[in-house]
Every structure is written in C-alpha cells, then in structure tokens.
C-alpha cells in the first residue's frame, strides 16, 4: 500500500514535467530578463501577446535578479544552457559579442521603415553587433517648488546652464539652518538643510562630464584610454567639488544608481541629473512638482545616450529567437507598458524626426511628461537628436572591468575628498589601458 502511494506521489511530481514536455507542436524558447515583480508581470503580458498572435513559437520568461544577471548568464553559457534570447547589460554586450555567444543581428532592421538611431548601435571595431531596445539620455530634473521658494527662474529647456551658472544657481538654492547660502559670512556647511544640486556620480554617468569638458574617456575606436587628459580629470574634480568645495551638493561617496532617489526624490535637493527612465520608474511615485532641462555644460553641450540590449544567443532556436526579438523590441510591442509609462524613450528615428511620430508618444495623454510638450520636445527629442553621444560601452570593450570595477572603486576616494581626481586617475590609468585591450 505504502509503495503504491509512493509511486503515485512520484508520478504526481512528474506531472508538471510531462505537461511541459507535451508536444504542442510549437518551438519553446526562453527569454531572460532582470527586474522586479511588476516588471515580470508587464513582460509576461507582452510575451502572452506574442504567444497568442502566432502558433509556431512559445516564449517562456526567465527572471534573473538584476545584481547577478550577467554572471548568471555567463554561468549558463559555461554550462551550455543559455536562454535563446534575453536582455544584456550595456557593459557586457561587447563581452558577449566578442566571445561568440551572440548571434549576428546586424541585418535585423535592413529595409525596415523604422530604423534605430546610430547612437544606440553597439559596434565592435566598427561592425554593428546589436541595437539597444530603447533609448535613454541623461537630463536634469528640478523641483519647481524649491525654485519658486527661492525666487529663482526655472532652468531653460533649450539653453543649458554653463557650469559656472549652474554652481551659482545651486548656491542660491543651498542654505543652512540660519538661512545662509554658501559663500556668505556665517554659512555653516555642517548644518545645511537644503542643497541646490546633485550630480549623479554613478560611474558610467560621469563620462558625460568628460565629453562636456571637451575631453573623453576612450577614443572613438575604443582602443585608447584618454581618461588621463586634463579635461577628463578636471571634469571629475569639478563634480566632486560641488560637495567638497562649493557645499552645494550632498556628499555621496558610495554612488547609487539613483540620482533621483539621492537628489530631489528626498526633497532636500533642488536639481539633480539622471537618466530619462526615471520619468517612468520614479517620478510617478514621487509627490514632486518637477521640471526637466538639459544637463549643464562645461564646454560642450552634450549628453549620453544608452540602454540595454535584447540579444539573440546562438543556439538551435536562433531563428525563432531572432524573429521574436525583432518583434519584441519594436516600440509598438511595448507601447503601453514601457513607452507611454515613460520608462523607454523610442529608439527609432521616426519618433524623433517626424511631427507625427513625436506626437504619438510625447503628445499622448498617458505620457508622464505631457503637460509641457514644448519642453518635452526640446529636452527629450532635440537634445537626443542634436547633442547625444553614445556611452563608451557602445564601442569600447571590457567596460565591465574599466567603468564598473576599476573606476568605481577608485573614484570613491575622490568623492570622499581624500584624494584628488588627478592623483587617482594617474594611478589607475595603466590598469585601464591594459583592461580595454583584454580579448
């Protein structure tokens, strides 16, 4: 009797496996992604749509925690168990591509009406290896109420602050317990109650300041490290000095990937820089009357564009995965869940270059920043078209080592004021040069 029960139980346990293996005549492929439960649900919705609209392929989601995403994919690759397609972190796209794990997708948009922007095309030695699923740029957010309270005019949407103007405005928006501003007699930097500015110092975002100051981190072909140029070094020091010297920004030694959370999200900072995805991920949950503006400029008016990629991995279902990814990364497939919520900026030129395309998303009443379409057009559309440069991981190999590991740890000593940017950069420069050359 007991034996019978055991056998029945074992069979019951195997039922789900049998159900999965049951031949529904469709090719099952997996799509891996990171994100929380909300994202899981929205991804599942899109997958359901794809699974219903055709009967040849069935896409299953594979959720991997964000923190361990890339290392998990590498482990799967070692075990020859990679999903058929999936999100790939920006800093690892070239790593996967150069190691022959990703399928060639360079012809994905050939002959298509909607062409992805060049800015978000990953290139290995000049050859396209993949396209970001969307576009994101760095912009400045500000709290309108704090500006009103200080009697300060809002930042312009088409004429960015120069760095000096930015610091001056930030000083006027910073005050201590006694209401004194930095530079005034009796100002006590120990007792600041409101800061004027916060520049997100998450490592990869710092590249924009090197470009803004007329320098660069890496050469355009991704083969040379230029971060030791005086312009690049000065740009890092200038950002650090906002907190250390000017006392207009909170000290942020251990950068977090959330300028909004550290900055105006806490309502103690009036202006902050961060990526456009915050329009969808953070601001809808914050009770703030906010505005958007281009980044302040040191010498050049420039911003960075970047976004992760949905990659097709080599394998026996490569073609099915290719077709799915092509469908999945169209703006239309994620229109409600990602574009209209403000999390994605569109990736196709059509949505930036034609009035019709622009009004489809920016003019939609569901879009989070639809109250002021003129500003939206200048800061999100024109700024992308005219001033955005690709972040270094679009063309420089091994940014998972250079920006994520070496620079991240080293720059913390600069943010804390223990060492100067020049000192730190000169020390790590040989390591950086060596790292970008690793195969």
């Amino acid at each position: 009797m007991k034996k019978l029960l055991a056998i029945v139980l074992c069979l019951a346990l195997m039922l789900p496996v049998i159900a999965l293996a049951e031949g529904d005549g469709r090719v099952h492929i997996t799509y891996s992604f990171w994100g929380d439960q909300t994202e899981f649900e929205s991804v599942q919705k899109v997958l359901d749509e794809y699974n219903q609209m055709q009967d040849k392929v069935f896409v299953e989601p594979m959720q991997i925690p964000n923190e361990q995403y890339t290392e998990t994919l590498v482990n799967y690759a070692i075990a020859d168990q990679l999903p058929d397609c999936g999100m790939v972190n920006e800093n690892s796209v070239l790593f996967f591509a150069r190691n022959g794990v990703m399928a060639d997708v360079s012809d994905m948009y050939a002959g298509e009406e909607l062409q992805p922007m060049d800015c978000i095309t990953f290139k290995d030695d000049g050859t396209p290896v993949g396209y970001s699923s969307c576009n994101e740029i760095l912009i400045m957010y500000y709290n309108k109420d704090m500006f009103d309270a200080a009697g300060e005019p809002y930042p312009s949407a088409d004429k960015p602050y120069t760095w000096d103007e930015f610091v001056e405005v930030a000083k006027r928006l910073t005050f201590d317990e006694a209401g004194k501003h930095p530079g005034e007699d009796g100002f006590n930097p120990e007792k600041i109650v409101q800061y004027g500015a916060f520049v997100n110092n998450w490592t990869w975002q710092m590249e924009v300041w090197a470009l803004s100051n007329g320098g660069a981190w890496f050469s355009d072909d991704g083969k040379q490290c230029l971060i030791n140029s005086p312009e690049a070094i000065e740009s890092i020091q200038k950002v650090a000095d906002l907190a250390l010297v000017e006392h207009v920004a909170p000290l942020n030694v251990i950068p977090e990937d959330n300028g909004v959370g550290v900055g105006i999200g806490s309502k103690t900072v009036a202006m902050t820089t961060d990526g456009t995805w915050r329009l969808g991920t953070d601001f809808p949950n914050l009770d703030i009357n906010y505005g958007i503006a281009p980044l302040p400029m040191m010498k050049e008016n420039v911003t960075l564009c970047t976004s992760g990629l949905t990659g097709v991995f080599k394998g026996k279902h490569q073609q099915e995965a290719y077709d799915f990814v092509k469908w999945y990364t169209r703006e239309e497939s994620n229109w409600e869940s990602l574009v209209l919520t403000g999390i994605w900026l569109p990736k196709s030129e059509y949505y930036y270059k034609t009035e019709e395309g622009i009004s489809k998303w920016l003019g939609n009443e569901k879009y989070p920043y639809n109250k002021d379409m003129e500003t939206g057009k200048k800061v999100l559309v024109e700024y992308t078209m005219n001033n955005a440069k690709p972040a270094c991981w679009y063309y420089t190999p091994n940014t998972q080592i250079t920006t994520n590991e070496i620079l991240f740890t080293a720059l913390q000593s600069v943010w804390s004021g223990e060492r100067t940017a020049e000192d730190v950069i000169n020390e790590i420069y040989p390591d950086l040069c060596e790292a970008i050359l690793i195969d």
């Binding site: 290392e71 190691n99 000290l251 080592i401 740890t409 913390q412 223990e418």
Partner: protein, 305 residues
C-alpha cells in the same frame, strides 16, 4: 567455544561498519563534490587565464605574480581584511563575553534580555546592514545628527577609507549574538564549587574571574575565536550591501575582491588565485591558533599539571 563469539563479533562489526559508511556517505559525497573538488578546480583555474566564455589559456603562476607585484589594490585589500578580522574578532569576543557574564547573573527579566541580545543574529542580514547604513549616513544619519546636535562636526563613518573598516567591524560586533549564547552555555558549566571554595579563601570577584572563570572558559573562548576568525576573514556582505569596496580599499575585502574579479570582471583565473591566497591565509591563522592552543587552553579532564 572461542570461535563463535569471534565470528559473531566480526559480523557485528561488519554490519556496524556498513551502517557507518551508509550514514557517512551523503556527507562524504557532499564534502567531496561541494568542497574538495571545487577547491582543486579553483586551484587549477588559478593557473589559467579564463573569462568564462572564451578559451582557457595556461599561464602558470602569472596570476599570482601579478597579484603580488602589479595589482595596486591587493595589499590594500589584504590589510583591510586583516584589520577588519582583528577588530571584529577581538571586539566581538570581549563584547559577547561581557554580555554573557551580565546575562549569567540573576538580573530581572533575564530571558527577555537574552532574547534581545540574540535578536541581531537572527535578523535578515541585509536589513541589518541597511539599518546601519541609515545610522552611519553622512548627510542624514542618526549618529551624525546626534554629533551635530552636540556641536560636533560630522564624521565620515562609511565615507572615509580610515573610518570605514572600524565602522563595519562595529556592526560585526553588534551582530555577534551567537557568540553570546555559546559563552553563556560555557559560563553555566563553570562549577559553582570552585567559586564557593575561592570565596571562602577570600578571593574577590576580580580574582575569581581571572583565576576561575577565564581558565574554565578557555575551550569555549578557543572555539569562538576560531569560528569568529574564519568567518570574519571571509567577510563580504558589508562590502556588497553597504560600501561596494570603497573608499579607496577601505572595505575592499579579499572575498569582495575575489567576487568582483571573478564574477563582475569575468577574470575567473585571477579570482581563483585570490581564493587560493585567502585560503592559505585562513589556514595559517587557524594553524597558529591550534599551535598555541595547548599553552593556554585548560581542559577539566586533562591529566597535565
């Protein structure tokens, strides 16, 4: 007459041996598969250059040579790890000994206090670190708020390369509830008769502590010291959850270095070399502890004078 019991004995032994083997097998398989094979694999891997996806290249001892001669962060990482281990081991042994002695007395609500001091150990560790992050925060943290309230200047608890290790060690001390419980169990085993005899001979509390409590507790102290040392040399969680290795190499613990090198930078060989070095360091320290233990540990049943 004699043959029968002997055979019986052997059979009995055989059965027992077999049972022992069967019972031991799962843990032996576990140890071999999860510990020893990966250890050997890790050592082998440390002689290669491998990014996980590409070809493995044999490079001999290059990873080790690089680690000791060219890595700008290795010595910083080593010193940080040793400093952290030293501070948190000594700190948590003294702290938990004191708390255990207090809890061993007839204080009111003793059970409640025992629970209170053990509680940090059972809390989810990530939540604990996030809580401490808020306490230590430079801009809005509670500690700095109190310091500023009393007219002091803000302290960079986690934001300076010199302060970050002691600050993190403080959290480790606070978390050492498990040591308290073990000490407490040990204290309850110190025979009352010794204390009573010493009291009659006129020894004061201080003398009794040094001459009776501490000697009787040495095996427990040794156990706690060893466990605490091994755990703290392998520290990684505070760096992962709070400080991400910095500032400088202030919290760039060896385990964290190993993790970032191997899994974030995809340098598996290099990470393995760090793992081997860390293993040797732990082995050396454990060896020193065992070698010196004979001199200072007192076992009640010991025949030695």
């Amino acid at each position: 007459m004699t043959a029968l019991p002997k055979r019986h004995m052997i059979r009995y032994n055989r059965g027992e041996t077999r049972a022992a083997w069967i019972c031991l097998l799962p843990s032996v398989i576990g140890l071999v598969c999860i510990t020893y094979i990966p250890m050997i694999a890790s050592f082998t891997l440390s002689l290669f250059n491998w990014n996980g996806l590409g070809e493995m290249k044999y490079i001999g001892l290059d990873n080790y040579i690089r680690l000791f001669t060219r890595d700008t962060k290795f010595y910083g990482s080593l010193l940080t790890t040793l400093e952290y281990a030293c501070l948190s081991v000594i700190g948590s042994i003294i702290y938990s000994m004191i708390i255990a002695m207090l809890l061993n007395r007839k204080v009111p609500a003793r059970g409640f206090f025992r629970a209170v001091f053990y509680l940090p150990y059972v809390l989810p560790v990530l939540a604990v670190y996030l809580g401490w992050k808020w306490l230590f925060d430079y801009n809005h943290g509670l500690f700095n708020y109190l310091i500023k309230l009393n007219g002091g200047t803000s302290v960079k608890f986690l934001d300076s390369s010199t302060m970050v290790t002691p600050s993190l060690a403080l959290i480790a001390v606070w978390l050492s509830g498990n040591l308290i419980v073990i000490f407490l169990a040990g204290l309850q085993n110190v025979p009352r008769t010794y204390h009573e005899a010493a009291e009659i001979d006129g020894a004061n509390a201080w003398h009794r502590f040094w001459k009776i409590t501490i000697p009787c507790m040495t095996p427990i102290i040794f156990y706690n010291l060893l466990m605490s040392l091994v755990t703290n040399l392998q520290v990684i969680t505070p760096a992962l959850s709070l400080t991400q290795g910095g500032p400088g190499t202030g919290s760039y613990f060896m385990c964290y270095m190993l993790y970032t090198q191997a899994f974030k930078s995809h340098k598996y060989g290099y990470g393995s070399a760090i793992a081997v070095i860390l293993f040797l360091i732990i082995a050396v320290f454990t060896g020193i502890l065992f070698a010196t233990s004979k001199g200072w540990i007192f076992y009640e049943g010991d025949e030695k004078e």
